[in-house]
């Protein structure tokens, strides 16, 4: 558990970060909270000769709720997400999700930007960002650009972000209606066996719109458009929930690991999603 040697940089400006990334290419990596990156370095699964700490870089923090949109700076920690009252009122699903990530010690350090940028299928925020249809803002040598969370993930640890780009924020419309983040894990500090993010809008006793995303059931987060569609127009009765779960099962592709075999994961995914839908419906 001793990492290989590395040079450590602590710039204060985003431009300097980009310059370092350009200079060192694949040999450089930014570090936010370090709680995904440092374990990889200690296991020597990641060898990073040039480590660029983002802690002192200005302009990467802050939570803003304005004009119907919520914007989270990349360096906002999970702890800050949990403790921001305005956010808890505007988008309670963020607190519900963040509280199910690891433990307080990890949450003091782990950031939304790191969680979203990392590309580990076990991370909870990517699925949630897809559920909320978030935009991910990146800055690189050529300026800033925005990409939808639903288009961002390519494969495990492979994202749309170029090596010399930095994630600066995520933003999304203030969600409306009922919500739920449901996660099954083996213990505190474990990644999901299966997790589901659900937002539901209700109109006249029926579901007007629904957004559903699943975590750790594929090599990328899975936004299941068909699962959401199966709910629309129903009164969220048992059959509708079943249909949504069945549709979702068509979109996921879990693999066997110590959490269990594929059949178990698929079964649990259906159960977890059903529970999340029912809870979101109750809150809608």
């Amino acid at each position: 558990m001793i990492p290989a040697a590395f040079d450590y940089y602590r710039p204060t400006k985003v431009e300097d970060v980009i310059a370092l990334l350009e200079e060192h290419g694949d040999d450089a990596r930014v570090m936010a909270g370090g709680h995904s990156l440092i374990p990889m370095m200690k296991l020597r699964m990641a060898d990073i000769p040039h480590l660029i700490d983002l802690q002192d870089v200005s302009g990467l923090g802050g939570i803003s709720i304005e004009g119907g949109r919520i914007k989270l700076g990349a360096m906002v920690t999970q702890h800050e997400l949990i403790n921001h009252d305005g956010l808890a009122a505007a988008a309670p699903i963020l607190r519900e999700t963040a509280l199910q990530i690891a433990d307080p010690q990890v949450r003091y350090m782990g950031t939304i930007g790191g969680n979203v940028a990392n590309g580990d299928p076990g991370n909870d925020m990517p699925g949630l960002m897809q559920c909320l249809d978030a935009q991910i803002e990146l800055i690189g040598p050529g300026g800033t650009r925005s990409v939808a969370a639903r288009d961002y993930y390519e494969a495990a640890y492979m994202t749309d972000r170029a090596d010399d780009e930095v994630l600066i924020s995520v933003s999304f419309a203030v969600p409306t209606g009922g919500y739920a983040y449901e996660k099954q894990k083996r213990k505190i500090g474990d990644y999901a066996t299966a997790a589901a993010a659900v937002q539901i809008n209700k109109n006249g006793g029926q579901i007007a719109s629904a957004s559903i995303a699943m975590t750790n059931l594929s090599d990328v987060p899975v936004w299941s458009e068909s699962a959401g569609a199966a709910l629309v127009g129903t009164g969220c009765d048992a059959n509708a929930v079943k249909a949504a779960a069945a549709a979702m099962l068509g979109d996921i592709d879990p693999s066997e690991d110590n959490r269990g075999p594929v059949a178990f994961k698929r079964h649990v995914a259906g159960i977890i999603l059903s529970r999340a839908i029912n809870r979101a419906w109750e809150r809608a």
């Binding site: 213990k187 066996t193 159960i271």
Partner: protein
């Protein structure tokens, strides 16, 4: 005189002796980060060692190229088996009569095996150099299943080729280690063949690991000038380590000092000798500088001694009324690449022959076969006396299976078969003499406390509701009545490497009435500095707060066999009381002299000797202590000291009755412990608060083992559970509320009647949690499903029983 006047009560309370929930004196330093663990030790000029380990479970080591590593600035040495061979240290003896490679000698037998030892100026350089050592391997077929190993042509231990006789008798196959038989095979078979009822079941007690918070490590320092070797290490038995090091290195024992500083948990993991210890010593001798080696978490889980890995098949017979008549137990024990069990020499399967449990079983037979496979070596007692967890799990499952077979309530079945109070001392069919017990009293107390009948009623209603589709949660009631065997042990039948398993205490009383006592044991969190002072306080009448307890330094402590198998209180605790009594005997003579009466005219009273019939005439122990240093007493040597080496006449047999109420989500496989009631009888209770703490800790490790904690391998012998992400170590979040209770049945042969308690909750807890899972599915036809009962395995059980649509 002896009525308990308030004044006398107060004097007794001031001593904080037996029965007092005295706060742990160790905790001030631990909670303030002032502990002194092996990794805190920094010696001038100290070097750091790190291992090159095998990525393969079975391979020939074709070559080891050190060149690139040696070229890295700061690397001092790279040791391989070739370097150790001239010293005869490339192999070392194990505690189980086998030998183990210190560094790979031509081949490796498990993933993570030590291949080369890199020594460098700092820990980081050592880790970098490990990557630079180039080892060429030639992969060999891997055997991870002991049953296949016994059939396979693949020879794992080529060093033993042709040896048909092992340390414990004949070897039946080249991958076979021993067969150990106890009891009456023919008689047992006859009873079972002719019985009214027979239940048969096979079960696997999976491989797990003690996983102490502090991993293993050592700092070795060879002083080339005076020839003295000092080893600081995570040793549960420092004296035994000193003797072993002397025997294998040839260094005279007086020139070796072994120190166990603070130890962050052991649970059996730190009893054995590991290659890291040997390599640090050799590296210090070779370089002339102190060398530190501390393994990381993954190394600890992959390469140091595991626990369990027992495949057990049982047959239990009974009369129509449910009276058990016979028990047959056959075990296949997977020991990994080397037999590195830590058991008393004559017990290659530990005290597995306690597997008749708390029951009066007239006839029994046990047979255990040890087998080599391509897994890490070990087979240590993880928070239990030697193989007692396995034994208790076996019998407590067999009782449940018999209850199913007979369509009986498992609590009733236990009650019919308990050994009765008046049968103690009880001779078991497999050779033990249980010292004392009152099982019916304990059991009935617990059944009433949890309202057992009410629970069964609720459970039956739940099953009906489940069948009607009104709930997806089942309810399990886990029962367990365990009897442990701890306190090894009588020297006549218990030794480790020929060292009798006595223990010791040496006391010095200082002139001003305080004292230091040193013992042959070593606390790893059990609170010895607190409790042993309490034993002494009551024995010698000085306040526990005025008594320092010191352990772990072989230059100062008297010889002892260390701490494991719940032996500290039964053996060293007894030595402490006996040494205290020697102090008291001399104090009596001093008091009589000072009071100018005959020795027999004074009697001990809490903290003083009083003249019989004249309580106003007394000398306190404090006064006596001073007198021993300043009075010339005819016929008595000055000073007040004593030492006792205690060889216990028997083991002690703590017991307990546990109930676990569990709710199981059939769809997700998630279990939730709703209630856990633990009644323990450990004889005389020295410190109820420490007992409570031990019970909570042991139950939590039991919960871990029963519900998820395992060392799993894939077919290539790769460890799948090498980090705490996958190896289940519960946090406060996963731990239920425990309700504790007790009865007191003192040990008749122990000087203060104490039996030891640290391991009971683990031994009794594992079957209790497991039985709860089984019990939830019993109405749907489940007989046996193996641990660990993690989410997916519980789900799979429900699935196989057709409980998912």
């Amino acid at each position: 005189m002896n009525d308990m006047t308030p004044e006398r009560d107060e004097r007794a309370a001031n001593l904080k002796g037996l029965g007092c929930s005295r706060k742990r004196v160790e905790d001030a330093r631990f909670t303030q980060g002032k502990g002194n663990y092996v990794d805190d030790i920094k010696l001038p000029g100290m070097l750091h060692g790190d291992f090159v380990r095998s990525p393969y479970a079975h391979a020939r080591v074709v070559s080891v190229d050190k060149e690139a590593a040696l070229a890295l600035p700061g690397v001092v040495a790279v040791l391989t088996a070739e370097d150790l061979a001239p010293l005869g240290l490339h192999w070392m003896p194990t505690l189980a009569g086998d030998k183990q490679m210190v560094l790979a000698d031509g081949k490796v037998l498990f993933q993570g095996q030590e291949v080369a030892f890199v020594v460098a100026e700092d820990r980081y350089i050592a880790a970098d150099a490990v990557e630079l050592v180039e080892v060429e391997y030639e992969e060999l077929p891997v055997l991870t299943d002991p049953f296949e190993a016994l059939k396979s042509d693949v020879v794992l231990r080529e060093d033993l080729a042709g040896q048909t006789e092992g340390a414990h008798g004949p070897r039946k196959h080249h991958n076979h280690i021993f067969t150990w038989e106890q009891g009456d095979e023919t008689g047992t078979n006859q009873v079972i063949d002719n019985a009214d009822v027979v239940a048969t079941e096979s079960m696997y007690y999976h491989r797990t690991h003690p996983c102490p918070l502090e991993t293993c490590g050592a700092v070795a320092s060879m002083d080339a000038v005076n020839g003295k070797l000092t080893i600081y290490g995570t040793f549960q038995a420092p004296h035994a380590v000193r003797t072993v090091v002397s025997l294998i290195s040839g260094i005279e024992e007086h020139n070796i000092r072994v120190v166990s500083p603070d130890i962050g948990g052991g649970f059996g993991n730190k009893v054995g000798v590991y290659p890291g210890y040997v390599c640090s010593v050799v590296a210090s001798i070779v370089t002339g500088r102190p060398v530190k080696w501390v393994e990381d978490r993954m190394e600890n889980l992959m390469s140091t001694a595991f626990a369990r890995d027992y495949w057990m098949t049982g047959k239990i017979s009974a009369t129509k009324e449910g009276k058990i008549t016979g028990l047959h137990c056959q075990v296949t024990a997977d020991h990994g690449g080397f037999d590195a069990c830590a058991d008393p020499t004559k017990f290659p399967a530990g005290f597995m022959n306690i597997c008749t449990g708390s029951y009066d079983i007239p006839t029994a037979y046990l047979s255990v076969d040890g087998v080599y496979t391509n897994k890490a070596p070990g087979g240590v007692s993880y928070r239990c006396s030697f193989r007692v967890t396995e034994a208790v799990y076996f019998i407590e499952r067999m009782i449940e299976v018999l209850a199913i077979e007979m369509d009986m309530d498992a609590a009733d079945l236990r009650r019919i078969n308990f050994i009765k109070k008046e049968q103690f001392p009880y001779q078991s069919a497999l050779g033990w003499e249980y010292d004392s017990g009152d099982y019916h009293r304990a059991w009935d107390k617990v059944m009433e406390a949890v309202d057992y009948k009410g629970l069964r009623k609720e459970q039956a209603e739940r099953v009906e509701a489940f069948k009607r589709g009104e709930t997806r949660t089942l309810m399990g009631i886990g029962l367990c009545h365990f009897t442990e065997i701890v306190g090894a042990g009588p020297v006549k039948n218990c030794d480790i490497l020929g060292l009798g398993m006595f223990d010791s205490c040496e006391i010095r009383i200082h002139p001003t009435g305080s004292a230091i006592a040193r013992l042959g044991t070593i606390s790893q969190g059990q609170g010895h500095a607190t409790t042993f002072a309490q034993i002494l306080a009551t024995e010698i009448g000085l306040p526990a707060d005025s008594i320092t307890i010191e352990e772990g330094d072989t230059d100062t402590a008297p010889y002892g066999l260390g701490t494991y198998g719940s032996r500290s209180t039964p053996v060293a605790g007894a030595a402490t009381a006996m040494a205290g009594r020697k102090i008291r005997a001399k104090a009596q003579m001093i008091a009589a002299y000072l009071l100018e009466v005959h020795d027999n005219d004074v009697e001990f009273d809490v903290d003083r000797f009083v003249v019989k019939g004249a309580p106003e005439r007394f000398k306190t122990m404090k006064e006596i202590a001073f007198a021993s240093y300043n009075q010339a007493i005819p016929g008595l040597e000055p000073g007040l000291e004593a030492v006792s080496y205690y060889d216990p006449p028997n083991m002690t047999y703590p017991f307990g009755a546990y109930v676990c109420v569990m709710d199981i989500d059939v769809d997700t496989g998630v279990p939730e412990v709703r209630r856990f009631y633990a009644l323990d009888d450990c004889g005389t209770r020295i410190n109820p608060m420490i007992i409570e703490g031990q019970i909570h800790g042991g139950l939590t490790e039991a919960l871990a083992v029963a519900l998820g904690q395992e060392i799993a391998y894939d077919e290539q012998g790769n460890v799948k559970t090498g980090t705490l992400m996958d190896f289940f170590l519960p946090t406060a979040w996963e731990v239920p509320n425990y309700e504790t209770d007790h009865t007191v049945t003192p040990s008749p042969h122990h000087p203060i009647g104490a039996k030891g308690v640290g391991e009971s909750p683990h031994v009794g807890g594992v079957p209790c949690f497991s039985n709860a899972v089984h019990d939830a599915f019993r109405p749907f036809g489940l007989r046996q499903t193996n641990m660990p009962h993690d989410h997916w395995r519980i789900w799979q059980t429900a699935n196989r029983l057709g409980l998912h649509d």
